[in-house]
Amino acid sequence: MSLLEVRDLHVNVDDKPILKGLDLTVEAGEVHAVMGPNGSGKSTLANVLAGRPGYDIDVGSITLDDEDLTAATPDERAHRGLFLAFQYPIEIPGVSNMEFLKAAVDAHAVHTGLSEPSAVDFIKRARATAEQLHLSADFLKRGVNEGFSGGEKKRNEILQMLLLEPRLAVLDETDSGLDIDALQVVAEGINAFRAGDNAIVLVTHYQRLLNYVVPDHVHVLIDGRIARSGDHTLAHTLEDEGYGWLDG
C-alpha cells in the first residue's frame, strides 16, 4: 500500500484544464520533488491535493493510506494527515500564532481520538520548535502571519508542519523568496521532519533547495502531465539545461 496515490488526475481551474492526466505514487519515507516551468500545474497539484475550493477535479482520484480523499473537505484531509505549506501564507489579524497552533493541534487530537495537550505542555513544545527554526518566543504571540517578513512566514509554515506531524507534507514553493540563511533553516526543519513513516512532496521552481533536502525522486511537470521522472540527478540536469529539451 502506497502512502499517496494520485491516478489520472484531470483538474480544471476556471473551466480551464490545468492538470491533464497526472499520476504520482509516493511511498512512506520518500521525498519527491515536483519541478517544472511556470504554468505547468505545480501549484495546482499542491492545492488540489489539499482540496482547495476552485480546483475542480474532472477525472481521477487521490488516495491517502488507501482512503479515497477525492471528495473530502480540506479539514477532513488535514485530519487524515495531509499538510500543505502555503506558497503565500495569509494573515489572520488578532489571532495569535500560539492560539492558532493550539487550535490546529487540538483539532487533530480530537480526530485521532487523543486527548488535547495541556496548555503548558503545548507552549513548551511550541517554544522549543520555534527555537529550532530560529524564531523568538515573542513570534508565537504575534497575530498569525501579521506583519511577518517573507522568511518568517515560510518558517511559520515549517513550524506548523513540525507541530502537526502530518503523514504527507506538500510544500508549495516554500523556498521561494528566502535568502540563503533562511533557506538553510527551512531545509533543516524539513530534514528534521523527514522520517520513515511520512512523506514529503516538494513543489519547487529551483534546484537550490534540493541541495539541502535531497529528494528520492524528481518529477518534471510539463503542461499538466509528468513528462519525466528520475532520481536527484535529474534536478541538476534541469538546472544546467532548462526544460526545453523535454518538450515534445
Binding site: A72, T73, P74, D75, I92, P93, G94, A103, A107, H111
Partner: protein
C-alpha cells in the same frame, strides 16, 4: 470536485437558545397609549404625584414628536397604539427571593442567571478559582422581580434596587438626576420612555466607595405584543467606582417587539463608571420575521473633574439596533470611552455608535468600534465627536473596523467630527476587511472546522474590545459570538 469549503455567504442559521416563553399569569394593560394609560402605569407602581406629572409632561411632549428617520435602517411604521405598555407577573412584588414564583426562578436559571445569592454569571467555568460575586437585578417584562445581595451592598452604603423602589425610597436623588442626562424631549424614544417607563435599575455609590461587587441587571421580555421601556439611573458620587453589567434576551416571536430604554449615568469628581452590555435580544429569523426593535438612549455625564465613564457593548441580538451610548465630558480632565462589538447576520440591521461631547478642558475620549456583518445584514457605525470652545487640550481617538462575512452584507461608517477648537486633537482610523476564503482555507487545511475557524477569526477581530470587558463577561461574550456564528458557514 471536492465538496469543499462551505460558502461563507450562508453564514447563519442557528438556534436562539434564549427563545423560550415562560408560561406565567400576567397582569397586562390592553394595547394603546393615552394619558389614562400613563396614569394607570403610574398608579400600578403607586408613584407619588410628582412622578405622575413628570410622566404626563413627557407624554405631552412625545405626542408632538415624530420618530427619527435618519438612521441607516428600514422598517415599517410602528403602530404605537397596538402595543401594550405594561405587563407584569400577577401578584405582589416578592419581598424576598423565597417568595419569587418558582417558574420565574426557573426562567432565569435556564438563561444562566441564577438568582440565589451564590450567584455568578453564566459562561464561567466551575474552576477552583474564586469567582467574584455578582449582584443581579432581574427585570421581567415591566417589573423587577428580584434583586440579590441587597444586604451586603447596603453594608457598603451602596444602593442597588429597582427604579420603582428608588422613586419611593430615594426620591431626592431620583428627582435630582432623572432626566438630567437624557432630557425628556431629547428624542422621540426617550420621550416615550419617560412617559411609560416601567422598571429598570437604580444605583447609587456613595462618596469614596468602591462597589464591593459587580452589579448587573438582566432584562427579559416575555409577554407578547408588549414593549419594554426600562429606565436605569446610575450615580457615582465623588471618588467612587462601580462596574455594572447588563444582559438581555427575549422569546422567539414572529412579530416585532419594541424595547425603548433610557440609561443615564452620572459621575461626580474622581468617580468612575464602567458599564458593560451583552445584548442578545431575539434577532428575528432568517427571513427577517420577528425580533426586537432595540431603540435605546444611553448617555453618561462626566460632571466631575477627573471622572471617567466607559461603555462597552457586545451587540449580537435585535432585529434593529438604534443605539449610541454617549458621554458628555463636562468635568475638567474627564475621560469617556466607548468599546463596541456589533454583530449582524441574516436580515439584522444595526445603526450604532457613540457621541463624545468634549465640554471641559483636557477631556479625553477613545472610541473603538468593531462591526461584523454576515448574511443580508446591514451594520453601520455612526459616531459624533464634538469639541466645544472651552475644551482646550481635548483629544479623541477613534478606530472603526468593519469585518464582512460573505458578499451580501453591508457595512457603513458615518463619522461626524465637529470641532470649534482648532487645537483639539481628533484622530480617526477606519478599516474594512473580509473573512476571506483564503483565511478559511488556511484554517481548514490545519484541521480546524469552518465554524470554529470563523469564530476564531471574528474573535481575533474583536480582541481590543473583549479586553475591556470584566473577565466573566468576556468569556460569555466570546461564547455568545461563537453561538451566534454557529452554522454561519454552511
Amino acid at each position: 470536485m471536492p465538496e469543499h469549503a462551505p460558502e461563507l455567504d450562508d453564514l447563519v442559521s442557528q438556534d436562539y437558545a434564549a427563545g423560550f416563553v415562560t408560561d406565567i399569569a400576567a397582569d397586562t394593560l390592553p394595547p394603546g397609549l393615552d394619558e389614562q394609560v400613563v396614569r394607570a402605569i403610574s398608579a400600578k407602581k403607586e408613584e407619588p404625584e410628582w412622578m405622575t406629572e413628570w410622566r404626563l409632561d413627557a407624554f405631552r411632549r412625545w405626542q408632538a414628536m415624530r420618530p427619527p428617520r435618519w438612521a441607516h435602517v428600514s422598517f415599517p411604521d410602528i403602530d404605537f397604539q397596538a402595543i401594550s405598555y405594561f405587563s407584569a407577573p400577577k401578584g405582589d412584588r416578592p419581598k424576598s427571593l423565597d417568595e419569587v414564583d418558582p417558574e420565574l426562578l426557573r426562567t432565569y436559571e435556564k438563561l444562566g442567571i441564577p438568582l440565589h445569592e451564590r450567584a455568578k454569571l453564566a459562561g464561567v467555568d466551575e474552576s477552583e478559582q474564586a469567582v467574584p460575586e455578582v449582584a443581579v437585578d432581574a427585570v421581567f417584562d415591566s417589573v423587577s422581580v428580584a434583586t440579590t445581595f441587597k444586604d451586603k451592598l447596603r453594608e457598603a452604603g451602596v444602593v442597588f434596587c429597582s427604579m420603582s423602589e428608588a422613586i419611593a425610597e430615594h426620591p431626592d436623588l431620583v428627582r435630582r438626576y432623572l432626566g438630567s442626562v437624557v432630557p425628556k424631549p431629547d428624542n422621540f424614544y426617550s420621550a416615550l420612555n419617560s412617559a411609560v417607563f416601567s422598571d429598570g435599575s437604580f444605583v447609587y455609590i456613595p462618596k469614596h466607595t468602591r462597589c464591593p461587587m459587580e452589579l448587573s441587571t438582566y432584562f427579559r421580555i416575555n409577554a407578547e405584543n408588549t414593549g419594554q421601556f426600562e429606565r436605569t439611573l446610575i450615580i457615582a458620587d465623588e471618588g467612587s467606582y462601580v462596574s455594572y453589567l447588563e444582559g438581555c434576551t427575549a422569546p422567539m416571536r414572529d412579530d416585532n417587539q419594541l424595547h425603548a430604554a433610557v440609561v443615564e449615568l452620572v459621575a461626580l469628581d474622581d468617580a468612575e463608571i464602567k458599564y458593560s452590555t451583552v445584548q442578545n435580544w431575539y434577532p428575528g429569523d432568517e427571513q427577517g420575521r420577528g425580533g426586537i426593535y432595540n431603540f435605546v438612549t444611553k448617555r453618561g455625564a462626566c460632571l466631575g473633574a477627573r471622572s471617567k465613564i466607559s461603555w462597552t457593548q457586545v451587540e449580537t441580538g435585535s432585529a434593529i439596533t438604534w443605539k449610541y451610548p454617549s458621554v458628555m465630558l463636562r468635568g475638567a480632565d474627564s475621560v469617556g470611552e466607548f468599546y463596541s462589538v456589533a454583530l449582524t447576520r441574516n436580515r439584522q440591521q444595526a445603526d450604532t455608535g457613540t457621541k463624545m461631547v468634549h465640554i471641559g478642558p483636557r477631556t479625553k475620549s477613545t472610541i473603538v468600534s468593531k462591526g461584523i456583518s454576515a448574511g443580508h445584514s446591514r451594520n453601520s457605525y455612526r459616531g459624533l465627536v464634538r469639541m466645544n470652545p472651552a475644551a482646550a487640550g481635548a483629544r479623541n481617538y477613534t478606530q472603526c473596523d468593519s469585518l464582512l462575512i460573505g458578499d451580501t452584507c453591508g457595512a457603513n461608517t458615518f463619522p461626524y467630527i465637529e470641532s470649534k477648537l482648532p487645537a483639539a486633537v481628533v484622530e480617526h482610523e477606519a478599516t474594512t476587511s473580509k473573512v476571506s476564503d483564503e483565511q478559511l482555507f488556511l484554517c481548514q487545511q490545519r484541521g480546524i472546522d469552518p465554524e470554529k475557524a470563523v469564530a476564531m477569526i471574528v474573535n481575533g477581530f474583536c480582541k481590543d474590545v473583549f479586553r475591556t470587558l470584566p473577565m466573566e463577561f468576556a468569556v460569555e461574550a466570546a461564547k455568545l459570538l461563537e453561538v451566534s456564528l454557529e452554522g454561519a458557514v454552511g
